[in-house]
């Protein structure tokens, strides 16, 4: 019976979302309480569910080996689900305030809650098929958020997003077909399911992996399939923050992890020798992201390109196929989520309080919003990977993984990109703090508390993760220990 519990975090948000759409709220307080209950409740549910032992798993319905909606909780899923539900809470607070500036809040929050359910679905999927379904749903459910402004620009970006996503989905489908024709099984197992087969057609497998990597890579903003991400910046800031931090791009990464380590398995992949092109793409992703970020004037776009680059790090951690690299990759998955969401919140806060969007406008804003910009500085430094922040911790492992593969080249790329990262983030800090006219009366213009508190808390998390990474690292190590 407790296995049924598993369904709640996945489907409850969907019900909440529908309810939210139906109920007419008397006042803002009611509304906010409802949203709060939904999202915080979900986190509690997840935590409560994880208490049970053994971890629940459930075949929701099963037609055959293939059509089998199967939920299964494992550590990887726990990691992802906790990350998502936690960050969702922060975003919720943030958007409650932020969205007062935007219209159509009702639709926004409906889909906002709905997406949480979808993400939970992805996290707890027990096989590729289930994951694929939720993955597609994610595309559809995030689309209204992306085009929230409904301007021509937004619609164009939304179209781009959809087209890219569906191309990706097609690739994934192709990969699934190829894979299924070899394995007849798509369920996730800790060391991959291919290893259990007696004989298999390596060419088809390689093709399947490659195609799926590209397919999921579209969501993970793999170059050259990334350009939807910068354009999706037209969305309201909380959406961008979520898109970048957890919801979309990370689900792409998560799916790639699932495919790489839970379907194929590190040994098989390592033996297939088809990694050259994937590595090239990943490296291009890293470098391109940071280089292009340097050229962006718009703060959000800059961060968007930065995301591309940082996702490249995570992908690198995945494709290097060794323990250290994967630890680094997974840790960076978390770190980047926390850092990037903070950065986006801050950019959003700047926009919210002052209406400024690009770098040259924010001269001296550090004097008006010292706390906010201090948080920005800390997050930036962390993203660059300067110790003792968490960004460094993950890069440390990534680099070790890179060297262990005897490919010092990766490390050089990592560091080069870190340098570029400094190049595009520090000028913002410098402009904010050290430039601009000094005004006689510096009145503080910190954003409202609902925005400020998430920012400060997340910054605290960044610092804590940097100083005491071992709590999380321990958990990641145990995941990695199981799958490599």
């Amino acid at each position: 019976m407790k296995h049924l519990l598993l369904l709640f975090p996945v489907f409850l948000p969907c019900i909440y979302a529908i309810l939210y759409g139906l109920i007419r709220f008397k006042g803002d307080t009611h509304r906010e309480v409802f949203i709060g209950t939904a999202i915080v409740g979900n986190l509690l549910l997840v935590i409560f569910m994880l208490q049970s032992n053994p971890l629940p798993s459930l075949h929701l319905f099963r037609l055959d080996q293939f059509v089998d909606v199967y939920f299964h909780v494992d550590k990887m899923g726990i990691l992802f689900s906790l990350l998502a539900s936690t960050l969702w809470i922060f975003t919720m607070f943030f958007s409650m305030e932020y969205m007062t500036h935007e219209k159509n809040t009702k639709r926004f929050f409906s889909f906002f809650i709905l997406n949480l359910g979808v993400i939970m679905g992805i996290a707890f999927s027990g096989n590729l098929f289930t994951m694929y379904i939720f993955y597609e749903l994610l595309t559809l459910a995030t689309y209204p958020l992306v085009i929230h402004a409904e301007t021509e620009d937004a619609l164009y970006s939304g179209k781009k997003y959809l087209i890219y996503s569906f191309f990706g989905a097609t690739f994934i489908l192709l990969g699934m077909i190829l894979l299924y024709s070899v394995t007849n099984d798509l369920s996730f197992a800790a060391n991959g399911i291919i290893g259990k087969l007696d004989n298999y057609n390596e060419t088809i497998l390689l093709a399947a992996y490659f195609v799926m990597f590209i397919g999921f890579g579209v969501k993970a903003a793999l170059v050259p399939f990334h350009s939807w991400l910068p354009s999706a910046m037209v969305a309201p800031t909380p959406v961008s923050a979520l898109l970048h931090a957890v919801a979309v791009v990370k689900s792409g990464i998560f799916a790639i992890i699932r495919v790489s380590y839970f379907i194929f398995g590190a040994d098989i992949l390592g033996g297939m020798k088809g990694h050259l092109w994937i590595n090239v793409m990943v490296i291009f992703t890293i470098v391109l992201g940071s280089l292009m970020a340097l050229h962006q004037e718009n703060l959000k776009k800059r961060l968007a390109y930065s995301t591309i680059s940082q996702l490249g790090y995570v992908l690198l951690g995945i494709v290097l196929l060794n323990k250290n690299a994967l630890i680094g990759g997974l840790f960076h998955l978390i770190n980047h989520a926390v850092i990037k969401i903070t950065l986006f919140f801050i950019v959003g806060a700047i926009y919210f309080t002052t209406g400024k969007k690009s770098i040259h406008e924010i001269k001296g804003i550090g004097r008006e919003m010292p706390i906010t910009m201090l948080c920005f500085s800390i997050a930036s430094i962390s993203l660059i990977g300067i110790p003792p922040t968490n960004g460094f911790a993950s890069k440390w492992f990534l680099a070790l993984g890179g060297i262990a593969e005897n490919k010092i080249f990766f490390v050089v790329i990592l560091l080069f990109s870190a340098f570029l990262t400094a190049g595009y983030l520090l000028p913002i800090v410098v402009t904010a703090f050290f430039q601009g006219e000094e005004r006689a009366l510096e009145e503080k213009k910190e954003p409202p508390l609902k925005i400020l508190i998430p920012i400060v808390t997340l910054t605290g998390v960044i610092v804590l993760l940097g100083l005491f990474p071992n709590i999380v690292l321990q958990f990641i190590r145990s995941i990695v220990g199981e799958i490599i």
């Binding site: 037609l63 379904i133 409904e150 619609l155 569906f166 097609t170 192709l174 077909i177 190829l178 024709s181």
Partner: protein, 493 residues
């Protein structure tokens, strides 16, 4: 159980009910009564077909002699699970479409023609079921002709210029098709001396070495003849005109059922009369495969170029029929079973699409795609249902469209032609290209939604209920995909 034992005679009973009741209708003055008769008979047929289905699944295939003459002289019905399932599909979908027509048909055709319309529909469905059930080729031919006439009838009933034009084109091409079909029968008869498929199967095994060319020619004639009627790719030219100009109820019937009847007949001839082993050796399946693939791609390409929404959906039918031929052409049991499954999936989905589009055209009075921007606000339920259908067509998991694509892909890999997977995927992308813009512009867009009033044009839920039922059917067909495919591969043996 007595009722189940009686089920053997049900197929004939269904036919009789439909055909006889059809000719009562013109005699009745009151349109409401006509509607009642039509729907009532269809429901009866539906119930009976379900009982037959249950019987067949329990007891296996059976042969029913009409007039108690033994084959090869007498005509017999051969009911295997496949036929029974298709029968259920036809009656139920037709029933739902008729249900929908109760509320909408009068807005499209003059009310004095209503009895004739229902007459034609009953005849059409009866003839289609006849094609499906009958085990006698010539009997099938007669039913084919009847259904052709009836379907031309339900196209032309709107009495507009383009309807007549379209119907004439349809008629002439159909007639060519039936001519070839009859010729095919002649060839087959000349070497086997039989018209009963079971007997042909027995004879042809011996005859194939003596008259290889004759078999080839007859197979080509069958394929092309039936191909014209079921809109195989380059022979589809009649379809967009006919389907788009007809009343939407007719379009739904034509697209979802009529095309499928001929496909089923082709499958029966190829795999039952001639037999799997024989047909596998013939190059005809490659031809079908090529034409099917072409249809999958070109149908979608043409659909993208269209401006009228009904034409888009009509061309989409061409593409979807391409899938069916693709499955047949794979020359594997799975392929054919999936083709049959796609008959199922496409029937329910396409019916739903045509009906929703019909509703949209009915309330707005517009036809062009660009006129439907922002329609999602005015008719959220309708467009929502349309979206479901579109998703199925594009291939979103669980929905039938996905299941058939998936299995077709697997079948093509196991048939040693993995490159065909690319065709399937390209075709689904193309599908997305013409379905999604409708949905997106319907639901979103600031400019699109300006001045639209929420639910202002929504039809009452009562009237949309049949479509909702169809949407449930879509989901249902998606969910029971596995048993269905198994059932079909069982029926082929």
């Amino acid at each position: 159980m007595i009722s189940l034992a009686m089920a053997k005679s049900f197929p004939l009973l269904i036919l009789l009910i439909l055909l006889i009741s059809a000719f009562i209708m013109p005699l009745v003055k009151n349109n409401r009564v006509v509607k009642g008769i039509s729907l009532g008979t269809m429901m009866m047929a539906a119930v009976l077909s379900v009982i037959t289905m249950i019987y067949v699944v329990k007891n296996g295939s059976f042969v029913y002699r009409i007039g108690h003459w033994d084959a090869p002289w007498g005509i017999e019905f051969y009911i295997s699970p496949m036929e029974a399932a298709i029968g259920v599909l036809f009656t139920w979908v037709a029933g739902l479409i008729l249900w929908y027509s109760l509320y909408s048909l009068e807005k499209e055709i003059p009310s004095e023609k209503l009895p004739f319309y229902y007459l034609l529909v009953n005849v059409l469905i009866g003839a289609l079921l006849g094609i499906v059930y009958s085990n006698d080729i010539f009997n099938c031919f007669v039913f084919v002709e009847i259904s052709t006439l009836a379907s031309c009838g339900i196209v032309v009933i709107k009495d507009k210029k383009e309807n007549i034009k379209a119907a004439l084109k349809y008629l002439i091409l159909s007639c060519l098709g039936s001519g070839l079909f009859l010729m095919g029968i002649a060839f087959l008869y000349s070497i086997t001396g039989n018209l009963n498929m079971t007997f042909i199967y027995k004879e042809v095994a011996a005859a194939q070495y003596v008259y290889p060319n004759v078999i080839l020619i007859s197979v080509v004639l069958f394929t092309i003849g039936l191909g014209v009627k079921s809109a195989m790719f380059p022979l589809h030219t009649w379809l967009p005109d006919a389907h788009s100009s007809a009343p939407s109820v007719s379009s739904a019937l034509l697209s979802s059922l009529v095309l499928k009847g001929f496909v089923i007949l082709l499958i029966k001839i190829l795999f039952r009369a001639l037999g799997f082993t024989l047909v596998k050796e013939l190059p005809i399946l490659d031809l079908i495969l090529i034409l099917g693939s072409l249809g999958m791609i070109m149908g979608s390409v043409f659909a993208i170029l269209q401006k009228e929404i009904k034409r888009v959906i009509a061309y989409s039918s061409v593409a979807q029929v391409g899938y069916i031929f693709f499955g047949i052409g794979l020359a594997s049991e799975l392929g054919v079973a999936v083709a049959l499954y796609h008959v199922f999936g496409h029937a329910v989905t396409k019916a739903m699409l045509f009906l929703t589009v019909g509703a949209m055209i009915e309330t707005t009075g517009k036809k062009k795609i660009e006129d439907f921007k922002g329609i999602g606000k005015e008719m959220p339920i309708t467009l929502g249902l349309f979206t479901l259908g579109a998703l199925s067509m594009v291939g979103i998991p669980i929905l039938p469209g996905f299941v058939s694509k998936w299995n077709l892909a697997l079948a093509s890999i196991s048939a040693g032609k993995p490159i065909l997977v690319a065709i399937i995927l390209i075709s689904s992308i193309l599908n997305a290209l013409y379905y999604f813009p409708v949905v997106i512009h319907g639901f979103f867009g600031e400019e699109n939604l300006k001045d639209r009033v929420y639910k202002s044009k929504q039809k009452p839920v009562k009237e949309m209920l049949p479509v909702i039922c169809l949407s449930v059917a879509v989901l249902f067909v998606g969910l029971i995909s596995e048993p269905l495919i198994q059932l079909f591969s069982l029926g082929l043996k």
